[in-house]
């Protein structure tokens, strides 16, 4: 009995060239199907764990009319923890959260710099780092004008520091 089962004659001859045994064929097809199903379930699980609706404070906010901000000024918006920086070229929205450990930095007009009270990091008004321990400059958020002419900031979109909104 067992000898006939192991007989090479039991192998299927596909295309007359290589012989693939029924067992190997079924094993490969089963493993392949399980692999596809496994990958699919990983993808579905990833989708399931990424929420589509978030009950979080909105990450976009309106910062009012551009005329509120004089040229060459830094304005701290406490609720949003963002600096609206206006230079001669235009507007940028700079994060006020220190890139070191997340403390809220402060604008020091007399020294013309942004300083962190926790560990002494110092930044230029455009977010560029003067002194550590902060590892990175303060990020710039996407800023644009709404249809009715107000500034709007999106804190989810980080843009390059040289991208400035010209009004």
């Amino acid at each position: 009995m067992s000898e006939t089962n192991q007989n090479p004659a039991a192998e299927l001859s596909l295309g007359g060239k290589t012989g693939v045994s029924r067992r190997d064929f079924l094993n490969e097809i089963t493993l392949g199907a399980l692999g596809v199903a496994g990958l699919g379930s990983v993808a579905l699980t990833y989708q399931y764990f990424s929420p589509n609706v978030l009950f979080e404070p909105s990450t976009t906010f309106r910062a009012g009319n551009p005329d509120l901000y004089p040229v060459n000024s830094v304005t701290f918006l406490q609720d949003q923890q963002v600096y609206i920086v206006r230079t001669a070229t235009g507007f940028s929205a700079v994060s006020a959260v220190c890139t070191h450990l997340g403390c809220i930095t402060q604008w020091k007009p007399e020294a013309n710099m942004i300083a962190c009270p926790c560990h002494g990091s110092k930044f230029q008004p455009n977010g560029k780092k003067i002194e550590g321990p902060a590892p990175r400059p303060l990020p710039h958020y996407a800023i644009n004008l709404t249809a009715d002419g107000e500034l709007q900031v999106d804190k989810l979109q980080i843009i390059k520091a040289d991208q400035v909104l010209k009004v």
């Binding site: 990424s50 929420p51 450990l101």
Partner: protein, 250 residues
């Protein structure tokens, strides 16, 4: 006195219920002693006989067993804490305060869970260093060393996920900083952080996710790997203390 107690015990052993559970008779011979161990689910991964040497305190300071005892204490106290805790903001913080100031013996249970968790991290690290300096990672123990590393990671993840649950400033900032470290991963960092927190900030979703990890997923994994770890100690020939090193010294 002793005789009446013995007759009571003997009559209990003669009952049908007792004999259906313990089928091997009294453990008075080597054979029945072995059967007592083999035939019991909770004992079968223990050796039938141990060397006196491996029971010495200085052998391994019982660090692994003490970690297991702490794990059991943490499971029991943790389950008891769950009866008063809602994993929702801001209720979680108030529940934690209630456990400390309102619930009878709540502060005892909470502190036992908290101190036990700190101690467990300490003991697991101590255990790892002890095994490392004694060369316990060498063959045939290399598989169990890797299982031990997995258990160390599980201990740390349990500690970290539990840290968020009081929902106070300490918890919030620890998890904010920790998940910012995740987002430093190249390419997928911010995606992984988003899935881990269930959002962009440490909020309600993050609390619920960390809670489920802390009370279901990680303890089950730890339970599984602890079982493998203890079973493997016996399969690899008991504690390393009895074995000789390359110089032939024991």
């Amino acid at each position: 006195m002793a005789t009446s107690f013995q007759t009571a015990l003997e009559s209990l052993r003669a009952t049908r219920v007792w004999r259906s559970i313990f089928r091997r008779g009294p453990a008075i011979t080597n054979r029945t002693r072995s059967l007592a161990i083999f035939g019991n689910l909770f004992l079968h991964w223990l050796p039938v006989k141990v060397r006196e040497k491996s029971l010495r305190v200085r052998g391994a300071y019982y660090l692994g067993s003490l970690s297991l005892v702490l794990f059991i204490i943490l499971v029991v106290t943790g389950v008891l804490l769950m009866f008063y805790y809602h994993p929702a903001a801001p209720k979680a913080y108030h529940d934690m305060k209630d456990l400390r100031f309102v619930v009878s013996n709540g502060v005892f249970l909470r502190n036992m869970h908290r101190v036990g968790a700190h101690l467990m991290v300490l003991l697991v690290f101590w255990h790892m260093f002890h095994v490392f300096y004694r060369g316990g990672y060498k063959p045939p123990h290399e598989f169990n060393w890797v299982v031990g590393v997995i258990l160390l990671l599980l201990t740390l993840f349990l500690s970290y996920t539990g840290y968020l649950l009081p929902w106070d400033q300490l918890a919030f900032w620890a998890v904010t900083v920790g998940t910012n470290i995740i987002s430093a991963m190249p390419v997928i960092g911010s995606k992984v952080r988003f899935v881990a927190l269930g959002g962009h900030i440490v909020g309600e979703n993050a609390l619920l996710r960390f809670y489920v990890l802390h009370v279901v997923i990680l303890p089950l994994l730890a339970f599984l790997f602890i079982g493998v770890h203890f079973w493997r100690v016996q399969k690899d020939g008991g504690l390393t203390v009895g074995s000789k090193d390359n110089d032939g010294k024991s």
